[in-house]
């Protein structure tokens, strides 16, 4: 057998690799190209899947595209409608950008929207309808009522999210499991309120919803469009500015990103991780709560009420949005707009084919297939790229010699 080698012997270094030196900018551009192309490959794959389904059903994909356009962008009324669908989706996604960057998989966002809707309804009942302990007091004016609705909504959503966060930090319950459980609880509670003679169901009514809110608790409509109001647009824009400031300027946003990448290291580098978990979750819940209030406060009378399903699933949709936007604050508005278009246009595709000649029955869930398909395919495309064509930043440490060459 070999003898004991001398102390601290090291194998000879391999000769330094001679590489053509390229500028840093060029390398950066070369790295960027696949990053830009990859999502489109995923989207194309998902679209291809939907086209196949449409062809199989005998529906003309070009016609579907026409319906999608008709149902979203063709007329001013459709555009206004699209806007009112987009705002709650966008603000929910903004909140999720915070938690997802911090590595918190806030599946409970759906329940936080519902909590917000319930909070807004409660405020509307208390301050506009004069229910409960405010029965004897004169109802407040329009502005005050709306402000209180938003405060209650944000508070309810924030507290519901804080509960998930406390379960995680204090009870050791993973936020995914805590969120799923709390989603069920709040959905059931919402049903209790508005069905089977529940406390908020109007006496004698058999519809699972509250009565329409009085004028004072409805958003004011804008430009004569039934469903369009400026207030949610202002609030969502403010939320977006706040999000961008947090993610790109603030120390806190940097801490959240650090936590998402390596919680243990972030803690050891001095980040108060537990406090940040609570704060990020609560802020996300507050934004989701506001989204819930947008969904129940009108402005048109048919939408100014708490229904059996106040969120309409936009919480889960927002999760897809943030995943597709790769948790980027700047991409989220665009991706959420595209998804709002697909959701809203999907209804038009369904009804359009129903009335076409011959009528074709397409299920509305086709749009959900497309939305989920896009996310799945894009994530898959990135997965394939990272596995087989890893970008430089994802590669293992480079050789020291090469590093010298680069510096």
């Amino acid at each position: 057998m070999t003898s004991i080698p001398e102390e601290r012997t090291y194998p000879p270094r391999p000769p330094a690799m001679v590489r053509p030196s390229r500028s840093l900018l060029w390398r950066w551009v070369v790295d960027l190209i696949p990053t830009l192309i990859t999502p489109f490959i995923g989207i194309a794959a998902a679209l291809g899947l939907v086209v196949l389904i449409l062809e199989w059903q005998g529906a003309d994909p070009r016609l579907a595209w026409q319906f999608l356009y008709d149902g979203t962008l063709a007329t001013a009324a459709e555009r206004a409608d699209l806007m009112s669908y987009w705002m709650p989706l966008a603000i929910t996604a903004f909140g999720l950008v915070l938690t997802y960057n911090a590595g918190l998989w806030n599946i409970g966002v759906e329940g936080q929207i519902i909590a917000g809707a319930i909070g807004a309804t409660w405020a509307a009942r208390l301050f506009a309808e004069g229910e409960g302990w405010r029965a004897q007091i004169t109802p407040l004016g329009h502005g005050w009522v709306l402000l209180l609705c938003f405060v209650f909504a944000a508070g309810a959503g924030g507290l519901w999210a804080l509960l998930v966060a406390l379960l995680k930090t204090r009870g050791g319950v993973n936020e995914i499991f805590g969120g799923v459980a709390l989603n069920f609880i709040i959905q059931t509670f919402n049903m209790y309120l508005v069905s089977n003679g529940g406390p908020w169901q109007p006496v004698g009514s058999r519809a699972t919803e509250t009565a329409a809110f009085p004028e004072a608790a409805r958003l004011s409509s804008y430009g004569g469009f039934r469903h369009l109001s400026l207030t949610p647009i202002y609030i969502t824009t403010a939320a977006f500015i706040l999000l961008v400031l947090i993610m790109y300027v603030s120390r806190w946003g940097l801490q959240l990103r650090a936590m998402g990448k390596n919680l243990r290291s972030a803690f050891l580098l001095g980040v108060h991780t537990e406090r940040n978990v609570l704060m990020a979750m609560m802020l996300c819940g507050m934004m989701a709560g506001l989204a819930g209030s947008f969904r129940v406060l009108g402005p048109y009378v048919t939408r100014a009420k708490l229904t059996a399903n106040p969120s309409g699933g936009i919480g889960f949709l927002a999760i897809l949005v943030v995943l597709l936007a790769a948790m980027s604050a700047l991409l989220t508005p665009f991706v959420s707009f595209a998804f709002a278009m697909l959701s809203k246009g999907g209804q038009k595709i369904e009804s359009g084919f129903q009335w076409s000649d011959p009528p074709i029955n397409l299920d509305r869930s086709l749009v959900r297939v497309l939305q989920s398909g896009i996310v799945l395919m894009v994530v898959l495309a990135f997965g394939v790229r990272n596995r087989y064509f890893p970008p430089r930043s994802a590669q293992a440490a480079v050789d020291e010699d090469e590093e010298v060459a680069r510096t």
Binding site: L268, L269, E400
Partner: protein, 489 residues
């Protein structure tokens, strides 16, 4: 059966886990594979048991080259491995576990398997009830079950990875008796992977020693414990004369601290650390030094005793509180705990620099980072992601991140995996800090590093601590004895 490993090499990324290792194992003998944590012994045994495949090199069984595609494949060739954590299914019964993994049809022959299990257990004097659930068994009993399972599969080479961790003394001696009889009477080859020297001396006939992924030597047992320590840790260069250092006031006073983690308990450590002092923590991996240093950092609360910094009681203080008081901790796994994969050097700086403003001054962060990169000779740019740096540069950068004017600096394996120049550079930086009054406490698996830089040495063995403060005692023989478990007095 004769097994031979020929020129086995395996790398993970830039870590050379095994480098050109050639070993040979004959039937009827008990071998030890010795080495410190990270020496490459687990990788080598995983290769031998089919769990991983080598990058290059061959395994020969009775002179015939073989390749294993999976552990099942290796078992079919007669090589079975007993992992440190038993690989069984706790919600199943002993018998069900015994059947799982045995070749057989869709409906296993339960009655025959029961017979085999009972007769095998009887032969080796194990008391295993086939119908008990595995989660009711002790680790030792689960090991026995696993051994019986491997034996029933006609394994001729049995590899055991740290088998004596977490089992009682009786179980250990029962295990050793069985292993001895398997080797002597049945001509099996037994390979014990361990860093517990007393086990090796008690059980084995021969020892192969690995260090830093390479084979460094072979000993026939019995041999002096110091010889094995020397092979494992390397020969200690004579301690160089150093100018007498003057120490300042006591900064950290550790008084009668008792710690316990799931692995072991550390008993009654008392130590007064003075400003500007370097204290080395020596010992085999897992002897309590990691627990000790973590308790100083506020990451592990002592069960008893006090830790004070100057006049501040930090015994129960949180990690962040301890850090504020002027104690910094640099853990061993740089990219697991300490640095954040995917973030740039500048982002690391922005994250750690104290500041009251809620926003980050990126201009200043860029400038500071560029300055520190220069000062600490880090090869990288402010916008390089940290994982693209080499180990030495990462470690230099981790040092650059630490605040100035620390009272105590706690380091785990500060030069692990670094080449000589990088290690020297790190120590230069550390000694500069020491000169400005920072006390340094460090763990190392390199005895020569400990001897070269420490003013005093704390040797850990199985949770017991011996303080070596006389430079005359800092030699292989004395330290080797202490590390190997010969307590003072």
């Amino acid at each position: 059966m004769h097994v031979e490993l020929r020129n086995i090499s395996k790398t993970f990324g830039r870590v050379r886990a095994n480098e050109d290792i050639s070993l040979s194992f004959s039937a009827g003998r008990i071998y030890a594979i010795l080495g410190e944590n990270g020496a490459g012994k687990s990788t080598l045994m995983k290769i031998m048991s089919g769990y991983q495949s080598p990058d290059s090199g061959t395994i020969l069984i009775d002179g015939q080259p073989v390749t294993f595609k999976s552990p099942t494949d290796a078992i079919a060739h007669g090589i079975g491995m007993l992992y440190q954590d038993p690989l069984d299914f706790p919600p199943f019964t002993v018998l069900e576990n015994f059947i799982a993994g045995r070749p057989g049809g869709f409906f296993p022959d339960t009655a025959a398997a029961r017979q085999t299990l009972i007769s095998l257990a009887e032969r080796f004097g194990f008391h295993l009830d086939p119908d008990r659930y595995v989660d009711m068994l002790t680790i030792g009993e689960r090991q026995q079950l696993e051994i019986l399972r491997l034996l029933s599969l006609n394994v001729r080479v049995l590899i055991l990875d740290e088998p004596t961790t977490g089992i009682s003394a009786e179980q250990k001696s029962a295990l050793f008796n069985v292993l001895k009889s398997l080797a002597r009477d049945e001509g099996m080859t037994i390979i014990l992977v361990s860093h517990k020297l007393e086990d090796v001396l008690e059980l084995c006939d021969e020892a192969y020693v690995l260090r830093r992924g390479r084979y460094v030597g072979h000993k026939t047992i019995p041999c002096p414990i110091g010889d094995l320590v020397e092979l494992m840790f390397g020969k200690i260069v004579a301690r160089q004369e150093r100018p007498p250092a003057t120490f300042g006031e006591p900064v950290m006073i550790i008084d009668d601290v008792c710690l316990s983690s799931h692995r072991l308990s550390v008993h009654n450590v008392s130590l007064t650390i003075r400003a500007g002092e370097v204290i080395g923590l020596a010992g085999l991996d897992g002897s309590g030094q990691a627990e000790f240093i973590r308790s100083c950092a506020g990451l592990l609360t002592p069960e008893r005793g006090t830790i004070r910094l100057n006049h501040l009681d930090l015994t129960r203080a949180s990690y962040h509180r301890v850090a504020e008081a002027g104690v910094a901790f640099l853990p061993a796994g740089r990219l697991e705990e300490g640095l954040i994969r995917g973030m740039t050097l500048m982002e690391h700086f922005a994250l750690t620099q104290p500041g009251k403003a809620p926003w980050v001054n990126w201009m200043r962060a860029w400038q500071t980072t560029a300055e520190r990169i220069q000062t600490f000779n880090v090869k990288g740019r402010p916008n390089s992601p940290i994982q693209t740096l080499s180990g030495g540069n990462q470690q230099r950068f981790a040092l650059a991140l630490l605040p100035e004017n620390l009272k105590v600096l706690l380091l785990e394996h500060p030069t692990r995996g670094l080449d000589v120049e990088s290690a020297l550079y790190i120590w230069e930086q550390l000694l500069q800090r020491r000169a400005s009054g920072t006390a340094i406490v460090f763990i190392s698996a390199e005895l020569d590093e400990i001897v070269a830089y420490s003013d005093r040495i704390l040797v850990f063995f199985g949770g017991h601590v011996t303080l070596v403060d006389d430079p005359a005692d800092m030699n292989t023989t004395r330290l080797g004895e202490l590390i190997g478990g010969k307590l003072a007095r």
